[in-house]
């Protein structure tokens, strides 16, 4: 895991390739094309990229309208504005009619860093997950982000893709990607660690640290939060008897709750959610902010150990 690439950068690259293959793909942005990386697509296909200005409500509803003409709009801005500010447009313009819009939002989570809590979406998964018919995906690395973009173009209906600002490790192994199918990254009998996004690599590091202490855990990359891979979640919870979820999101409403929903009343197991504990984010270097919220490998290992 030497190379580090942000999932947003992979998104920008993937759009160019996808654009070459599928002429129905158009991209909409709200004056953040350089940050979301859709500027790469704009450069390659200037007549297929629409900047809607700093008007996210309109951005989302216009994307809905374009999809009805048979186009596949990839709609991008920061997660805070796309999932937050324009929430009701996502709900009513896009999801209620089940229109084919791909909401690809970057700068999610506290790893945004310096911009601070106003720009760190820690509730976007909760907001998107609760909408009927919405597919919700959080890629773990650049390779998975690229695969997710191609998979979403083939999926009919609304989808939310959560992307990060921070460059993060790219896995050497080339894992398969199928929407709704979790990837088991590491096997171990002592606990099942369900995680997603940037926390996957942190959890894999944490698993190594735990192994040094004689604790062997399974690490499962739940890249699709909805529809969640209930079979895999159930199987590993039963097998390990102890479940810990780790996410760069509020512990309320995100991956942890999605996993809990699968297990509740079905599997008797120890259960602990790690994530942002009902607090807002704040400014700082991304690494420092992640440490403040106990989302680094060493801290995760400590907290897993304490929970077992």
């Amino acid at each position: 895991m030497a190379e580090k690439i942000a999932t947003r950068a992979a998104y920008g690259e993937a759009l160019i390739e996808l654009g070459a293959q599928n002429d129905k793909v158009v991209v909409l942005d709200a004056d953040l094309a350089n940050a979301t990386q859709t500027a790469k697509f704009q450069k390659a296909y200037p007549d297929r990229h629409y900047n809607m200005g700093i008007a996210e409500s309109n951005l989302v509803s216009v994307s809905a309208g374009m999809s009805t003409m048979g186009l596949i709009p990839f709609c991008s801005t920061f997660a805070m504005f796309g999932a937050g500010r324009a929430y009701e447009q996502v709900r009513n313009s896009v999801a209620y009619p089940h229109f084919n819009v791909k909401l690809c939002m970057t700068h999610a989570g506290v790893s945004v860093g310096e911009d601070g809590g106003s720009h760190q979406a820690i509730e976007d998964l909760a907001l998107m997950r609760v909408i009927p018919g919405m597919t919700v995906i959080v890629p773990a690395d650049a390779k998975e982000a690229k695969k997710a973009v191609f998979a979403l173009a083939e999926l009919e209906g609304p989808a939310y893709l959560r992307l990060a600002r921070l460059a993060s490790p790219v896995f050497e192994e080339d894992y398969p990607f199928e929407i709704g199918k979790a990837n088991v990254m590491r096997e171990g009998p002592d606990a099942a660690i369900f995680t997603c996004g940037l926390m996957v690599s942190e959890c894999l590091e944490a698993a190594k640290l735990l192994e040094a202490d004689g604790i062997r855990v399974s690490v499962i990359n739940v890249h699709t939060i909805k529809p969640i891979d209930a079979d895999c979640v159930t199987e590993y919870a039963q097998k390990c008897g102890k479940v810990i979820t780790v996410e760069e999101h509020s512990v309320i409403g995100g991956l942890g709750d999605a996993v809990a929903d699968v297990l509740m009343g079905k599997v008797a197991c120890k259960f602990k959610k790690l994530g942002v504990n009902d607090r807002f984010g704040q400014s700082g270097k991304a690494e420092d902010v992640l440490r403040e919220y106990r989302l680094t490998a060493g801290q995760i290992a400590e907290d897993i150990k304490a929970a077992l």
């Binding site: 809905a64 374009m66 009805t68």
Partner: protein, 271 residues
């Protein structure tokens, strides 16, 4: 259609509005009655749509941004044969295709799910932009209300329509002057609407009487100004056609009872 035929069509739609809201015991008759001429003229004299092929990819599009005027929309679509008029009786009932606000998944002829104000015009902008992108000659009609103009998103939509030079978009602005809590002036004054709409880049046509079918037809028939979206700012009468509903705030979201239904239909028979 001749003017006389259109007048008959409009009268039929008005009766549908009264019957639908009376049967349902709820709904929005006031802003439906004000919109009848605008919507009927668009569908009957301008739009290329086929009730037997409602999903034709080459059809023109209509978005009712003021989705609470659904009784008018359903009346127009039902009279044109997009669905059986028996559906009127099920308006707002469980499992009905005619939901309280238009649902694109349920009603043939409806192109977007609307009702949350401000969003429909943006959706229409997306359709018009999509048509331009695909080099299709599709025309898009969107109807908004004046209370709706208090939503910031409406102005975002207008700004983007001008920016992308959407001369295939016509906004029908139903300016009846009233909203749920009172007049626009009392609730949140809209200021100089014609000046604002011109400043936002519209080719603006102002109609002193938006319930004058001949005037609406004439306005809609004018050739588009290349590079500019069009707005028809129509001064209309809320509750138009039913004397006791006309210009009454109280009839925004209240259904007529049986006695009122009979009285309203009696007035509309004469039209």
């Amino acid at each position: 259609m001749t003017t006389q035929e259109l007048e008959k069509f409009c009268a039929a739609v008005r009766r549908d509005i009264i019957n639908m809201t009376a049967d349902a015991g709820s709904g929005h008759p006031g802003g439906s009655l004000s919109a009848v001429e605008l919507m009927s003229a668009a569908f009957c004299t301008q739009m290329r749509v086929d009730p037997k092929n409602p999903h034709d990819p080459d059809r023109d599009r209509f978005v009712l941004s003021k989705g609470h005027a659904s009784p008018c929309y359903y009346g127009v679509l039902g009279e044109l044969g997009f669905f059986a008029k028996e559906e009127f009786k099920n308006f707002r009932q469980l499992h009905a295709i005619l939901q309280g606000h238009p649902d694109v998944k349920k009603v043939p002829g409806v192109d977007a799910s609307t009702g949350s104000l401000g969003q429909g015009v943006s959706i229409a902008v997306g359709m018009a932009l999509g048509a331009k992108h695909l080099k299709k000659d599709t025309r898009v009609f969107a109807m908004c209300g004046d209370g709706e103009a208090q939503e910031g998103q409406l102005w975002e939509a207008f700004m983007s329509a001008a920016h992308y030079k959407l001369d295939n978009l016509t906004v029908l602005f139903d300016n009846n002057g009233l909203q749920i809590d009172g007049s626009n002036e009392e609730v949140m004054s809209l200021g100089d609407l014609p000046a604002k709409l011109r400043a936002f880049g519209f080719d603006l046509i102002e109609l002193a009487d938006g319930n004058d079918i001949a005037a609406v037809v004439e306005a809609l028939a004018r050739p588009a100004v290349p590079g500019k979206p069009r707005c028809i700012l129509a001064h209309t009468l809320k509750g138009k056609g039913v004397s006791f509903m006309e210009n009454q705030v109280g009839w925004h979201g209240k259904a007529p009872n049986e006695e009122q239904r009979v009285a309203a239909l009696a007035e509309l028979e004469g039209m």
